[in-house]
Each structure stands twice: as structure tokens, then as C-alpha cells.
């Protein structure tokens, strides 16, 4: 009978979502679309990231960030949301934690808001439609 020992894992790739110590990066997803939240969550969990929390508007995102802090490594932040938009939420999170890693999620045509977000401290941005490659590339660029 074949056992696992018969096939040692060579070239086994470490999932992108794990830190050097083997623990997962913890991510907060802030988006008012259930579809986008699920899509980002699926992409990240498939690489070993831990989705530590989700929020459906900027205000709830800010609260969630404070609640999770310091055990949160990355935030994905939608730009257009009800109650509090993503740019305001970013600004408030940066006031609370100037080292926050925040990636803005933008629809096409929001270049001015993306630029403003980068000036306010966002580390990166992703333009929708999202796909696995695009999301992982930007996330890893931000975390490295």
C-alpha cells in the first residue's frame, strides 16, 4: 500500500497567506456587496489567509478594525459604500493606526478617489472586475 511517505512533497509551495512563522495573515474585508466580499474571501482563504472580519460600510469597517487591532494585517476597502464611504473610513483608520495596510477596491472611473486614497495612506488599489491573480498580486505586493 502506498503511503504519504512514498511521495515526499518536493517543490511544495508555501501558501501566500501564511507568515514566516506559519500563522495566517489576518484580513478585514470592507465592502457593501455580498458578492465582492465572498469573492475576495474565497480567493484569500484558498491561499491560507484568515478572513478575520467583514463589514458592509466604512463606519462598520472602522469599528471592526479597532476591535481586531492589533491582530489585523490587511484591509480591503471598497470605495463606494453607504453610511461612510471607503475613503473616509481609510482616513479614520490611518488616524487610528498609521501603519495600517489598506488596499482600495475600485470600479473603473474612480481614478480621482483612488489617487486621494493613496495620498491618504492606502498602500495599493485593485480595479474591478477582480480575479484571483490580480487580487493575490496586489495583496502580496502590499504585505511584502
Amino acid at each position: 500500500m502506498k503511503t504519504k511517505m512514498d511521495f515526499p512533497n518536493i517543490n511544495k509551495r508555501k501558501p501566500e497567506g501564511l507568515k514566516e512563522n506559519g500563522k495566517p495573515f489576518r484580513v478585514l474585508i470592507v465592502d457593501d456587496s455580498m458578492f465582492v466580499t465572498k469573492q475576495i474571501g474565497q480567493i484569500l482563504t484558498s491561499e491560507g489567509f484568515d478572513v478575520a472580519g467583514t463589514a458592509s460600510n466604512g463606519e462598520a469597517g472602522l469599528e471592526k478594525y479597532k476591535e481586531l487591532y492589533p491582530k489585523v494585517d490587511l484591509v480591503t476597502m471598497d470605495i463606494t459604500m453607504p453610511v461612510m464611504d471607503g475613503v473616509t473610513s481609510l482616513e479614520k483608520i490611518m488616524e487610528f493606526d498609521k501603519n495600517a495596510n489598506i488596499i482600495m477596491i475600485s470600479a473603473l472611473g474612480k481614478q480621482d478617489l483612488v489617487k486621494k486614497s493613496l495620498l491618504l495612506g492606502a498602500k495599493n488599489y485593485i480595479v474591478k472586475p477582480l480575479d484571483r491573480k490580480k487580487v493575490l498580486e496586489r495583496v502580496m505586493m502590499t504585505l511584502k
Binding site: 473603473l108 472611473g109 474591478k128
Partner: protein, 154 residues
Amino acid sequence: MRVEYINPFVEAAFNILTEVLKTEVKRGELYLKSSSMPVLGVTAIVGLAGDVEGRVLFDMAETTALTVASAMNGEKIEKNDELCKATITELANMITAQAVTKLHEIGFQFDLTPPAIFTGKNMEITDVAIEALIVPIETTFGKIEINVAIREKK
């Protein structure tokens, strides 16, 4: 209604649908409607107000909405539930954002409403003041009609 208003929507729908559905997408023949017309069953509506005003519908049968949402989520969606509606809303969002960027580039300035979804059987839409141009987009998941009724503000 000027055809240049609809082209950015058709191009954007073609680009986004090809990208997110990863399937062959074909553009059908454009047609004009100035009276009431039936809608297919699951319809996302986006309003425009500014230099131009009106509305855009992304209209499809419920079976199409379910297969499109299933493809976009990578899992079988059997009911037109909250996730299905959120997915179709996001699809409308992405198409509209790309189209509007193009329209802004050629000089039209206007604001958009967030997409709303309406669903049901035997529904009609009537645009009394603006005629509508419709472009059917054929995908392997079924037909999606881009229905645009826009006019320049007087």
C-alpha cells in the same frame, strides 16, 4: 436617441461579460422601442442625471441570471436569493462604470444611481418621454439585453 450613448454600454458589457463569464459573447442586432415593452424577469436598473439623463437596464431571464451568478461565484446558485441579486448588481456596476468612464472621456458629465434590481413575471417598462435602444447580448448562459433610454438635458 443618439447611438453614441449606447455604444459604450454595449462595448463595456461585451468586455466585462467576456472577462467574468469566460465564455463566448456575441452582440445581436440593435433595435428601437418607443412604446411599452416586456422585461425578461431579472432586471438591474441604473439611473443617469446630468448633461444626459435617463436610465439603463440590464435585463435577463431568471434562468440566465442564475447561471450567470453561478459562473461568477464558482458555485451552483439555484435560487434568485440575496447572493444572486448581489452578483447581478455587481455585474451591472462593473459594466456601468466602464461605460461611464468612456462617456466622461468624450465629454458627457453626469451622475449615476446605485443599481437596483427588480424581479417578477409579466412586467413591462414604459418610457413615455425617451425612446429606448436595445442591444441583445448572446452568451452561452442565455440572452442579456442592454436597454438604454438616454437623452441630452434640455
